[in-house]
């Protein structure tokens, strides 16, 4: 059988997570673009409107899940791209933890913003 090429080590946990988040993001990113550009328009954005959406628990939960999966998928993608470019050893470890820290900052900041809109005191 011909060797099948993949940029990831097939079968790994991260490999699977990258694909599960991809499938989820396909649907949610399409919904996000559609809702915020086609249903509502860019020049109609206001704190009040964002707040009204985020006060619904279903929307809030979906957006938090969207933030976490997009961060994982994007940052893991960057990490894999760098490994493909030959990143190894100490540099690889340093970059890995820098990316983990950047992801944590992004998620915390995103949750704080969502909480501010939703009227949740913790922000």
């Amino acid at each position: 059988m011909a060797e099948r090429y993949s940029s990831f080590k097939s079968g790994g946990r991260m490999w699977l997570l990258q694909r599960i988040t991809a499938a989820f993001l396909l649907v949610v990113l399409a919904f996000h673009f559609f809702l915020l550009h086609f249903v509502h328009h860019a020049d109609e954005v206001s704190f009040l409107a964002s707040s009204a959406r985020m006060e619904q628990i279903s929307y809030y939960s979906l957006m938090i899940l969207f933030l976490v999966t997009a961060t994982f998928h994007g940052v893991n993608g960057v990490y894999n791209a760098l490994i493909n470019q030959g990143l190894t050893g100490t540099k690889r470890t340093v970059i890995k933890w820098t990316l983990v820290a950047a992801s944590a900052v992004l998620i915390v900041q995103g949750v704080r913003t969502a909480n501010a809109w939703a009227g949740i005191g913790l922000y």
Partner: protein
């Protein structure tokens, strides 16, 4: 028994003239991926103006005079921002369509039509982007 081969660096861009459709698909997927993760950080940074805005008085929020609304309104009034948003849409649509193609390839679906599905992704990205221009530009002038 599985064997491993040392292929050296996977991406040797000096060989770009020899690249086939699959390699271009991969490069475009990487490029659009870099743009999207870069945008995600920028997006959250801009949206974070919602944090100080939440502390503004109710009257200011009702009147749209809070810092979040003002920031978005001033950004959206710039034609450059609107054009960048069209670019972002193109990048996102390609990444999504080619990503679907990759998921299918990983599942072993459509292996024989890999090249065709890449060209289809490109054409569909172009069509969706062009069709979205009026919506994305509306109100910018």
């Amino acid at each position: 028994m599985s064997q491993s081969y040392n292929r050296g660096l996977i991406e040797d861009f000096s060989r770009w003239k020899e690249f086939e459709a699959g390699m271009w698909a991969w490069i475009f997927h990487k490029f659009t991926g870099w743009v999207l993760i870069g945008y995600l950080f920028t997006h959250i940074a801009v949206l974070s103006t919602g944090i100080p805005a939440a502390g503004a008085g109710e009257a200011a929020i009702m009147a749209g005079e809070d810092v979040y609304t003002q920031t978005i309104v001033s950004l959206e009034s710039l034609l450059l921002v609107r054009l960048l948003e069209v670019g972002l849409l193109a990048v996102a649509v390609f990444h999504m369509l080619n990503g679907t193609r990759l998921l299918l390839v990983d599942l072993g679906v459509g292996l024989d039509a890999q090249d065709k599905s890449f060209y289809a992704s490109l054409i569909l990205t172009g069509a969706i982007t062009v069709a979205s221009v009026p919506t994305f530009i509306a109100g910018a002038f």
